[in-house]
Symmetry: C2
Subunit: 427 residues, 2 copies
Amino acid sequence: MELLEICKRAKEASRKLGTLDTNTKNRALLAAAELLVSEKDAILAANEKDLERGRKNHMQKALLDRLMLNEARIAQMAEGLRQVAGLSDPVGEVLSMKTQPNGLRIGKKRVPLGVVGMIYEARPNVTADAFALCFKTGNAVILKGGSDALCSNTALVALLRRALLGEGVPCDAVSLIEDTSRETTAEFMRMNEYVDVLIPRGGAGLIRAVVSQATIPVIETGTGNCHIFVDETADLPMAVRIICNAKTQRIGVCNACESLVVHEKVKDALMPQLARVLWESDVKICADAPCLEAVRSGVAADGGAVSRELLLEATEDDWGTEYLDYRISVKTVGSLDEAISHINRYNTGHSEAIITESYRNAERFLNEVDAACVYVNASTRFSDGFEFGFGAEIGISTQKLHARGPMGLEALTSTKYVIYGDGQVRA
Amino acid sequence: MELLEICKRAKEASRKLGTLDTNTKNRALLAAAELLVSEKDAILAANEKDLERGRKNHMQKALLDRLMLNEARIAQMAEGLRQVAGLSDPVGEVLSMKTQPNGLRIGKKRVPLGVVGMIYEARPNVTADAFALCFKTGNAVILKGGSDALCSNTALVALLRRALLGEGVPCDAVSLIEDTSRETTAEFMRMNEYVDVLIPRGGAGLIRAVVSQATIPVIETGTGNCHIFVDETADLPMAVRIICNAKTQRIGVCNACESLVVHEKVKDALMPQLARVLWESDVKICADAPCLEAVRSGVAADGGAVSRELLLEATEDDWGTEYLDYRISVKTVGSLDEAISHINRYNTGHSEAIITESYRNAERFLNEVDAACVYVNASTRFSDGFEFGFGAEIGISTQKLHARGPMGLEALTSTKYVIYGDGQVRA
């Protein structure tokens, strides 16, 4: 189908989706879950084609793993659809209703956004996921997945549409742009007449490309150069536990800790023990001179030796780098002010934490650090829609408009004013 | 000052502005109001230079009037600043605070956006207005006004900055881009590193240009092709009152009614009397054939005659035109469905009204018409921040992200998650 036709149909479908009741939407989600499982062979066959092409093109192992579906992963997708069916529906909620002096009653009501465009990489699970969240919130979604997953996505979307048709719901609630060329993608990003919002999901390059090319409003998600600051009052064993968790519990995710900021008064007490624990997980430490020295002398005092591989000198580049790897940078500061300035300069507005026992330092950090999520004495790994209790996540917004931080169903809604009069005119 | 330097300083200032308490902000707003009044001669002298240049360049009378300042208008500006000082401060409000099963307390707190860019035309009053609203919400604002108002804006911004300095507040809370060239404006719109949001205020051309060129997130404001639908159950005298108010109470504003949709069952009873009343205000009627005929035969039955100037045949172009003039289009429909389709096709997502006595029609119209403000039995002219009780307005958003409809102070804020832990790590 032509891009323009896809967009027009999605817009048309969105009119109807916005008025569906929750029961109908849930029935369709459950039917889709069932169909994915019962038609798993078709999905696996399509996925095998993508994998074969990937292997032929020497796709990286990690990427092949992301692309790969199996019975368990299809069951997970289906379970995801069922979970979204179980969430409460934000559409229609009246957020406020006030009567003006002239008798007009003005209400603010939650409504779908309309048509959502998702641009993502070769992760077929995003296909089912994005459909479920957009559909539950009464939106039509147009998917533009990575070309490497085209066969898988085509099979998945065909099944989702079949499930919708079976429930008497407009199947254009979900559609796939099969032409994954740059030109068509660029054209898609300028379809302001039909698409209300674009949500890119993927690496920094993808997101930058969408932000710079799109004229449709974009919700930026993703990149996280997250810091943990250990102040001079910190409970150091707690600091070690939290830092290790934030760095190593899962590598390569946006809410992992990439950079440590250490008050000079605690560097000697903290750094040697922290280094030992991080090294157990093969994490390389890129530290500035004072913290480098703290590690070296601490380890030497214990009669140990430090490998050149595991302890490196940080350069200016390290402060701004989201490693997504077994590596952490360490910056020494002389004050909370210096810590806050450093973090505000190099962070990406995602998640930042302070480890402190000081009320004043905690409050200042929470107020003055500019990020979607600011923590006291907890791991940055909690920045996540499920951990926040939203029951779902469409991404983590690192911008300040519309939605900031983990985005659940509400982030996929807008509002409208509904005004009840009895003949009022303006004087 | 260079553009880059302006942006950097604004960002720097925004860090401090976000932590100012309300009393300090209010004192600075009141000081600014006082200074505008006491230094009115300097403002008027600068404005006279702009006016002189405008007259030399044969600027239109209406534009000259918008540009012109006098003692009363300066007093109004100052009064605007005082009013904003009187509004309650949304910054710091905690919108929710929940404790997760693991003991993490997760709060959602209202915070400033950071740096707001305003791009507008030659209306010096917007300068003071935008400053007041952005400053009250803890944002720095960078102003890019029309070149025709450059001297006026330079004088105003200099005074605002002087007032801030006098109160010990960073004067870079407000700055003006004095280089109004296209190149600099285009560069400004891509300063994503320093500017969090752009708000264009002005005609459709200005807004289109910003949307298509900016990489910074934009809040679209403005254009309103607003409809009123008179259904078959409408109280017709009420319909006439509301239509006349929405069309003529003020011409050339975005919430004025531009197009009428009339159920065929009431066209004969409604149109002749409506035409008579609209013609009293010199409003031209561009109607489709059925309503044209309804007016003609109704007027003829009364023994009257219709001038060719006041009654015209509508063309396809009329449905999509925001006249901002003494003109209204009229479309006949056979059903509510047809009315809703017509409105959803041609409206600009601003304000739409139905005149009806039917509960079912009212509900369907409110639910199915896709616009920021949907009315039952009231004039579209109420779409306004003051009429909605916000005490202020930075514009009317016609998009669905972040803010929709009249935008008050809250639209100039974002949120951040503040998370209080006591050592939690992710399992």
